[in-house]
């Protein structure tokens, strides 16, 4: 009866008050801020003569608009520059616990630097004016992406207005075969439940395959919870979660650390907790995934073919598939492996952490970019990831293959900075959205894992990474 899910526990721990209709005020521990969704929020505070409630909850960085061209010390686009400069000014005026501005050695994508600095800790409520805030749920955080007026609301009141979501569990049993990664798991989940499959629910990812993922892999899975319609995605605390924070600058130390760990260990769903909905997948039969359309649910595996829209029974889905194929310039029945790519993007808050770069480098080592691939961008998620990768010599593997080794930022995940696709160009991308125009007007995006993206860069078309992996020989 009193058994609680992880989501119930996190919700209860932060519930300030609740109206009879269920509208609640949730206390916010960590507020991550970037340059795109914050200027009007700060201006709103200023216009109303309000002060932030707790500036020490704020950690900020510039990521969406920054150039990732190494050595580019200036933001050329005046609109982008103004957003970044405005963030500098707002943080100076209002204060923050930490600020990682453009060209700071620890600057990076907000969802990469949060955990890496220890700004995100297990059990926290985390908000950010960006829908991929669900990433932080990997650490058993209650993490919500919010809009600009909510950014202002949290700044002014330290609370978020929310109604409680329903509980959903996605259990991935079995172990992942070689060449199949966290990205394939989440794409397969979205393929199964659809982009609205998690709407109104908070998803807890569980099961042996999830437990066996590193923290980086769990972040990749939670990152795309929003692509399955769920504003919140989570993984329960285990030893890996706790070990991750041992050396993080903002994590508690000494006695407080011990006290925190005692609490964090309770952040798991009770054995007899009830979920409103449960979905079960078998990891052992998963294959590398590739999206073929303009929604993340339009996905198949590397052995598959572009589907025939006529085969969809649901007329809405059929229409959507027809439109997607027209936009993507694909013929029904084309084997996925025969699709050629013009560009490859390895980066974004989904797949730009050290483990992702290692997985890509393992495929690339000693090989060269295919001549038909115009450009391959490898964009580390943060200054620290970049440093670590260079220490391991990964950058040399990429450079020798003819890839570009860039500076941290959102880069080609969205066409807001200088990195973008030209109309009609096709891209193998490790990001999270394949919507029309997401990577540049007319650009065609196929979502894949870092290893699959690297493999496509080498082959010039999609290819089964399992055939390229050293372990597979």
């Amino acid at each position: 009866m009193n058994a609680k899910t992880l989501y119930d526990k996190l919700w209860d721990a932060h519930l300030v008050r609740q109206e009879p209709d269920g509208t609640a005020l949730i206390y916010i521990d960590r507020h991550l801020i970037h340059e795109v969704t914050s200027p009007q929020a700060f201006e709103g505070l200023r216009l109303a003569g309000r002060k932030p409630w707790r500036t020490a909850s704020v950690v900020a960085t510039a990521d969406h608009n920054v150039p990732t061209d190494p050595g580019e010390s200036e933001i050329r686009d005046p609109v982008s520059r103004e957003q970044v400069v405005t963030l500098d000014q707002n943080i100076r005026a209002f204060g923050a616990l930490r600020y990682f501005p453009f060209r700071d050695p620890r600057q990076g994508i907000v969802h990469v630097i949060g955990p890496e600095s220890g700004a995100t800790l297990p059990g926290m409520t985390v908000v950010c004016g960006d829908s991929h805030t669900s990433t932080h749920g990997a650490f058993a955080c209650l993490a919500h992406g919010i809009g600009t007026s909510e950014v202002e609301h949290v700044l002014a009141t330290q609370c978020l207005i929310q109604k409680k979501a329903k509980n959903m569990r996605v259990r991935v049993d079995g172990s992942l075969p070689p060449g199949v990664y966290a990205k394939d798991v989440i794409l397969a989940i979205i393929g199964r439940i659809g982009t609205a499959g998690g709407t109104g629910h908070a998803i807890e990812f569980a099961g042996e395959a999830i437990r066996s993922l590193s923290m980086e892999g769990r972040m990749t899975v939670c990152n795309m919870a929003i692509e399955a319609g769920a504003r919140v995605g989570m993984v329960a605390v285990d030893d890996k979660t706790i070990d991750y924070f041992r050396d993080k600058p903002l994590a508690p130390k000494g006695e407080l650390w011990e006290q925190a760990v005692d609490y964090w260990r309770t952040l798991v769903s009770d054995a007899d907790a009830r979920f409103d909905r449960e979905v079960v997948l078998d990891a052992s039969i998963l294959k590398p995934q590739v999206t073929w359309g303009t929604s993340p649910e339009m996905v198949t595996d590397i052995e598959g073919r572009v589907p025939d829209p006529a085969a969809f029974a649901d007329p809405v889905k059929r229409d959507a598939a027809e439109r997607a194929l027209a936009y993507m310039g694909l013929e029904p029945g084309t084997p996925i492996r025969e699709i050629k790519v013009d560009q490859v993007f390895i980066g974004s808050c989904t797949n730009s952490r050290i483990e992702d770069l290692r997985a890509a480098a393992a495929v690339v080592r000693g090989r060269k970019k295919a001549p038909n691939v115009k450009r391959v961008l490898v964009v580390p998620g943060s200054g620290l990831v970049k440093e670590q990768a260079e220490e391991e010599g990964l950058h040399r593997i990429f450079l020798e293959a003819g890839f570009e080794w860039r500076d941290p930022g959102c880069s080609m995940c969205l066409a807001m900075n200088a990195d973008r696709l030209e109309p009609g160009e096709r891209c193998a991308s490790t990001s999270n959205r394949n919507f029309e125009g997401r990577q540049g007007a007319g650009g065609r995006t196929h979502l894949v894992s870092p290893a699959m993206a690297a493999a496509a860069a080498i082959a010039g078309h999609f290819v089964d990474v399992r055939e390229l992996l050293p372990a597979a020989v």
Binding site: Y27, R50, L97, A156, L256
Partner: protein, 217 residues
């Protein structure tokens, strides 16, 4: 958010149905980092003969003499008469921001698009729904009478015409209270500031490790 109690304002008639938010404030202006300053670009495509871009000095741009707000008799209008489904299309909050920044405080029409209607209340702009015949009559009176003003009294939920005709309107009681007091979402939450502070203190005692840096500072 500014309070709304009583408004005695000049009226301008915008005689078009289904005015969408992209017509109210075109998308090239959304890149702005401000929520004020949209007034000069309100109805940009209709108001000017050239193509507007953010940062332009609108005082130098060629105005469309046929557009109603460019007629001297409507200069300084605070109340906009509109037709059905005003504010449809994208959910951008820039639409009420632009109307407010131009100087409008109230809209009167037969119907409004849903999200736009909500966004108005969040920003202290009062959208009043009246029966279509009543709106028609106001359009006729306004166009026939230079300097036509209306008095909107929120506490009594009435509109008074220059000749003394009194029209009642409906409004959700909670929204009315918010407007009368100037409460936006933040102000509403801050009514519980003491409760938040009490929660925070207890939470901090229970979870001191989330507040490490502050204690050190």
């Amino acid at each position: 958010m500014e309070q709304f109690i009583r408004l005695d304002g000049l009226v301008a008639p915008l005689d078009r149905a289904n005015v969408d938010t992209d017509a109210i404030i075109p998308k090239q202006f959304l890149k702005s980092i401000h929520r004020s300053g949209f007034g000069p670009y309100l109805f940009d495509e209709w108001r000017y003969l050239d193509h507007g871009e953010p940062g332009m000095d609108c005082s130098k741009r060629p105005k469309n003499p046929d557009f109603v707000l460019n007629q001297p008799r409507y200069e300084g209008a605070q109340i906009l008469l509109v037709r059905e489904n005003f504010g449809c299309g994208s959910s951008r909050e820039h639409a009420p921001w632009a109307l407010l920044d131009y100087g409008f405080r109230a809209l009167i029409g037969p119907s409004f698009a849903d999200i736009f209607y909500n966004n108005c209340f969040k920003n202290g702009l009062l959208p009043i729904v009246l029966p279509a015949e009543e709106v028609d009559r106001l359009f006729r009176e306004c166009e026939a009478t230079p300097g036509y003003r209306l008095v909107i009294d929120l506490p009594s939920q009435t509109i008074t015409t220059p000749e003394g005709r009194v029209i009642s309107f409906e409004i959700d009681p909670f929204r009315k209270e918010c407007l009368l007091n100037g409460w936006d979402d933040i102000a509403l939450t801050l009514r519980h500031a003491d409760e938040i502070r009490r929660f925070e203190a207890a939470y901090r005692a229970r979870h001191p490790y989330y507040f490490v840096e502050e204690s050190a500072a």
